[in-house]
């Protein structure tokens, strides 16, 4: 718990947060960020518990053939992008970042007990879709809260700390699930119940320890400050820096092949043994966890944009190694380290960069816009990659992805946004002392 970690005895969270953002404590991560990190950690423990046992539950628990279940992923991708935009918009529009985030976390928490009663593929698919709707709703407001709670100069680090905590939860979740199944054979219902309890704790920590922003005043906004509306959100793209950043994220997303393809290729091209296949995602996550904070700090020092682009250079190396087809025991480790490094250098860093260009009034919408563009581009890339694989085989598909990424990275380098964010001064949100109802 972050409360135990704070080396002070603050009377209230508010004064602590205010003091943490004072000029004297530049290096510290704001309590709000730690609280949000804790929420994400706990929530990821909860959701990854379910993800880890789901295949087993479908096959062994319910005796279903889960093939074709993947269709849900494809159909859902477009919808989830829309949900993200809606979540960002609602948060800016007056719903408040915290409220919308709480709705998202709450919706996902409520999905866990529903898994106890859903016993057919369509129903389970619907529950998972609702779960992901919750995830889509909360992502942009949560990142907006992180950005608003941390000073401009250490934003990269704040996002790094959050992403590291988030990933730690993703690694702990499966362990918890298997411990439960050890104690109770076929205890899937216990896994779902415990998962719900854990998710509820996450929602509670959010409600209690993350300060909400004050509601926008009813009076008209002062001249020059954008009012939150869909039009204003789209008008963000008229800001040259936002437009460039969104375009770069989109371009690079078009060359980002989905994780499952990377793992499949690791096995096919580099000869990773079957027994390790299930552990490959853990390798990426572990590297992400270890590198998120250092790369976040590096981004604060040398520039977020450079680190973001550098992350894609790491991805380019991943493709290159997969393309080489070299078979050596060290190579899969290197690929996973680079793959995790790619996430550590891009995921939180992009949000830290974007937060510098988007005015606070439109923070959630702006972040959602950039995330959505990136997510849709990655989705298109995966479809194209699958098609290329079908047409030319895996080797040429990786070759094509490598070429596309090299071209996109060069274009992104040429398009790079300006070095100094215009909103470097607007770093703080006023912390209200509202007690959540």
């Amino acid at each position: 718990m972050y409360v135990a970690d704070s080396r002070s005895t603050p009377a209230t969270a508010a004064t602590a947060a205010a003091r943490d953002r004072g000029p004297g404590r530049r290096a510290a991560v704001a309590p709000t960020v730690l609280a949000l990190g804790t929420v994400s950690l706990v929530t990821d423990v909860s959701s990854e518990m379910v993800t880890a046992v789901l295949p087993l539950y479908l096959v062994a628990g319910l005796g279903l053939s889960p093939l074709g279940f993947g269709l849900l992923d494809g159909v859902y991708n477009g919808f989830s992008a829309l949900v993200r935009l809606v979540g960002g918009h609602l948060a800016d529009r007056g719903g408040g970042h915290k409220t919308v985030a709480a709705l998202g976390y709450g919706l996902s928490a409520l999905c866990k007990p529903l898994l106890l009663v859903a016993s057919s593929l369509p129903l389970i698919g619907a529950v998972l879709a609702a779960d992901r709707t919750g995830k889509g709703l909360r992502t942009a407001p949560r990142d907006a809260l992180i950005s608003l709670a941390s000073p401009e100069e250490s934003r990269g680090r704040a996002f790094g700390v959050h992403r590291a905590m988030d990933t730690a939860g993703a690694l702990i979740g499966p362990l918890v699930a298997f411990l439960i199944l050890r104690q109770a054979v076929d205890g899937y219902d216990a896994v779902f119940t415990v998962s719900f309890c854990v998710a509820a704790v996450g929602v509670l920590i959010l409600l209690l320890f993350v300060p909400s922003r004050p509601r926008p005043p009813a009076t008209p906004a002062p001249d020059g400050a954008p009012r939150a509306s869909l039009k204003a959100a789209l008008a963000l793209l008229r800001l040259p820096d936002v437009r460039r950043l969104a375009l770069c994220a989109l371009l690079l997303g078009l060359a980002t092949v989905s994780d499952s393809f990377v793992y499949l290729l690791l096995q096919r091209r580099l000869g990773v043994a079957d027994r390790w296949f299930a552990l490959l995602p853990i390798g990426t996550a572990a590297a992400f966890l270890l590198l998120a904070v250092p790369l976040g700090r590096l981004a604060d020092r040398v520039g977020r944009w450079r680190v973001f682009l550098g992350g894609h250079v790491a991805l380019l190396l991943v493709y290159g190694l997969l393309l080489s087809g070299w078979q050596s025991p060290a190579l899969p480790w290197l690929v996973l380290a680079l793959h995790g490094g790619f996430y550590a250098a891009t995921d939180g860093v992009l949000m830290a960069a974007a937060a510098g260009f988007v005015p606070p009034e439109l923070r959630s919408s702006g972040l959602a816009l950039i995330q959505t563009g990136q997510a849709l581009a990655r989705f298109c890339c995966s479809i194209a990659f699958g098609a290329a694989w079908t047409a030319w085989g895996d080797r040429w598909a990786v070759g094509a992805a490598t070429a596309v990424l090299a071209v996109c990275a060069t274009a992104a380098f040429a398009l790079r946004p300006s070095a100094t964010p215009p909103h470097a001064g607007t770093t703080t949100d006023k912390v209200s002392e509202e007690t959540p109802a």
């Binding site: 409360v3 009377a11 209230t12 959701s47 379910v50 993800t51 880890a52 789901l54 295949p55 087993l56 096959v59 005796g63 279903l64 053939s65 889960p66 093939l67 279940f69 993947g70 269709l71 849900l72 057919s120 593929l121 369509p122 998972l128 779960d131 995830k135 993703a170 499966p174 439960i180 199944l181 050890r182 104690q183 109770a184 054979v185 219902d189 216990a190 119940t193 415990v194 309890c197 509820a200 704790v201 509670l204 920590i205 209690l208 994780d259 499952s260 393809f261 499949l264 079957d274 027994r275 299930a278 995602p281 699958g386 694989w389 079908t390 030319w392 085989g393 895996d394 598909a397 007690t435």
Partner: protein, 341 residues
């Protein structure tokens, strides 16, 4: 609310939610323990030796699902008295098949942090001849009639947040040479007369011919399933027919029993059991009205057996292979039968 108040509230919530979590865990552990106690009215089960050898008397070897100390062990009954007393071996498998004196057993290996799975090749006395690690959750297993070739299928997937895309991997092993094809996806695919290559190709449900060279299986690509005929020497598979899952080749090798996705069925129960005549490609619906999700097994050239959910997990049924008659329950609390003679 003060920080102290918030902390107290959090602690109180932790206590309540922790209580719910522990209670659900205890309840599940209790239920698991109950399955280890024999149930009144269940079949009689004792320990004993099981032989997979060919040429002994006709018998059924299967996974015993009846509650009690021998739950989920391989067991045997004489073919003439399927409801009679069972002899349990102590060997546990998630999937099992046997033929020609060879058994294949896909089992879970308990690790410290998670279960791993392995395929174990068994000799006629159920002793391990070799084992191979598996990349996912066991779903199908078959031995060729001679006992020389073995195939297994596992589910692989679900590796990202709330993602639920699954794929299957099917491996074929020659037990005499030890040569292992880890995935049929390495084979050349000829679909509708043309070479076909796709990242989304999945194979499952291998069934072997007597010649230890050819096999049939299901191939799925682009949302469509196919019956494919495979050649282990040429390393090719060729599409034969559409909408075929979990095929099983008849002893005389003229027909395939399989599950077919029927239009208008509910998403929970989409299949109906059919027989396909390989010479004419004529389909015959079998008299089982329920949706079967199993790779059926032939008792002889006229009867097939398959499992359906039952009070103890699964029961075995038989139905005539020509579409006549009606389904009959062969055994309760049993799965994965191998009919040996």
């Amino acid at each position: 609310m003060t920080l102290r108040g918030k902390l107290l509230l959090l602690l109180a919530a932790l206590a309540v939610l922790g209580g719910v979590a522990v209670a659900s865990l205890l309840h599940a552990a209790d239920r698991a323990a109950e399955k280890d106690r024999p149930q009144a009215g269940g079949p009689a089960i004792g320990s004993g030796r099981i032989s997979l050898a060919a040429g002994a008397d006709r018998r059924i070897v299967f996974r015993n699902m009846a509650w009690g100390p021998h739950r989920d062990e391989l067991a045997t009954v004489p073919a003439g008295v399927p409801a009679g007393p069972r002899t349990a071996s102590g060997v546990k498998c998630l999937r099992f098949h046997a033929a020609g004196g060879t058994g294949i057993c896909l089992q879970a290996v308990r690790g410290t942090v998670e279960d791993a799975y392995r395929a174990v090749v068994l000799d006629a006395a159920l002793k391990e001849r070799a084992h191979y690690p598996l990349p996912g959750i066991p779903t199908r297993a078959r031995v060729s009639p001679s006992g020389r070739l073995v195939a297994w299928t596992v589910f692989v997937g679900g590796d990202s947040y709330a993602s639920a895309s699954f794929s299957t991997r099917t491996a074929v092993l020659d037990t005499t040479t030890g040569r292992l094809t880890t995935s049929l996806e390495e084979f050349r695919v000829v679909k509708d007369g043309k070479d076909h290559r796709a990242a989304d190709t999945n194979f499952w449900g291998v069934t072997f011919s007597r010649d230890d060279r050819h096999f049939y299986a299901t191939m799925a690509t682009a949302g469509q399933t196919y019956l494919v005929r495979g050649d282990l020497t040429a390393r090719t598979v060729t599409t034969v027919h559409r909408n075929v899952e979990c095929p099983s080749l008849s002893p005389d090798e003229t027909r395939i029993v399989y599950k077919k996705r029927v239009a208008g069925a509910s998403a929970d129960a989409p299949w109906h059991e059919y027989v396909l005549d390989l010479a004419t490609l004529r389909e015959t619906a079998l008299a089982e009205p329920r949706s079967v999700d199993d790779q059926a097994v032939w008792l002889d050239d006229h009867t097939v057996s398959y499992s359906l959910p039952g009070d103890y997990g699964a029961d075995l049924y038989t139905v005539p292979a020509d579409g006549s008659g009606s389904p009959k329950r062969l055994m309760t609390a049993a799965l994965a039968p191998a009919f040996l003679e």
